[in-house]
């Protein structure tokens, strides 16, 4: 600057680590990102189950016993809720990233897919297929 003395002294604030606690929108964003934590727990269960399958019937039985523990069911309930919340947010974002069809159609189409898969899985494991 050519002025003899500049009175400029810009004040730059720094974003604190807890920025996401300050607004509900950011809290929901963090919740969305955190849905992967219970997901990881369930994937861990799946890996354990897969391992037991490669072994023998006794291992598979111990996997079932593991899954029947209260805290495991509680965490998987959390994972189920997380998967639904993730689905809600992910389905809403998809038509905005790739506007291939009217948003309502894409969103309901995706929910239909989730429902059909759930019905299929329940029919298969329920022994009706």
């Amino acid at each position: 600057m050519n002025t003899p003395v500049s009175a400029r002294k810009p004040y730059q604030s720094k974003l604190s680590r807890s920025w996401w606690l300050k607004h509900n929108y950011y809290r929901l964003y963090m919740l969305r990102e955190a849905t992967v934590l219970p997901l990881l727990f369930f994937i861990g269960c799946l890996l354990y189950g897969l391992y037991c399958l490669t072994q023998d019937a006794a291992h598979w039985q111990s996997f079932q016993t593991f899954m029947q523990q209260g805290w495991v069911i509680a965490l998987n309930l959390l994972a189920f809720a997380a998967s639904l919340f993730h689905a809600k947010t992910f389905f809403a974002l998809f038509p905005r990233v790739m506007p291939l069809a009217p948003a309502w159609l894409m969103i309901s189409g995706q929910w239909l897919a989730t429902l059909l898969v759930a019905a299929g899985v329940l029919l298969l494991f329920g022994g009706w297929l």
Partner: protein
């Protein structure tokens, strides 16, 4: 202005997106069945007994098994790795090539393990 270096994010973002679709479409039903109803004894069937599951695998579900592992384990793992990697940045808890290697590396290793289990199951019979 000089051009910035091309980011390799397209690779991770594509895996993240594919995993996100799997997480939203396949996982709710699977968690409900395997994580909640089965342990509670509400899925009153023999399909989830050891011998029945193996015969299920033998009766043509073989290649589907690999796709199943990819869709419910591998891709969701990369989805999770991506969100954790960026979450570390959001929380100012370190965001570097080291955390990147740790996140995607773990997802890759666990994916290989899952595919190994699946393959060894398929080759066992």
């Amino acid at each position: 202005m000089s051009s910035p270096k091309r980011s390799d994010e397209p690779v991770w973002w594509s895996l993240f997106s594919a995993g996100g679709v799997c997480f939203a479409v396949f996982l709710p039903g699977l968690i409900l069945a395997l994580g909640i109803l089965w342990p509670l004894g509400l899925l009153n069937s023999s399909v989830l007994q050891y011998a029945q599951l193996l015969s299920l695998l033998q009766s043509g579900y073989g290649l589907t098994g690999l796709a199943f592992t990819g869709a419910v384990i591998c891709l969701p793992l990369f989805h999770a790795a991506h969100r954790i990697h960026h979450g570390l940045h959001d929380l100012k808890c370190g965001y570097s090539s080291a955390t990147k290697l740790l996140c995607y590396g773990t997802a890759g290793l666990l994916s290989v393990l899952a595919l190994y289990f699946t393959l060894s199951l398929l080759l066992k019979y």
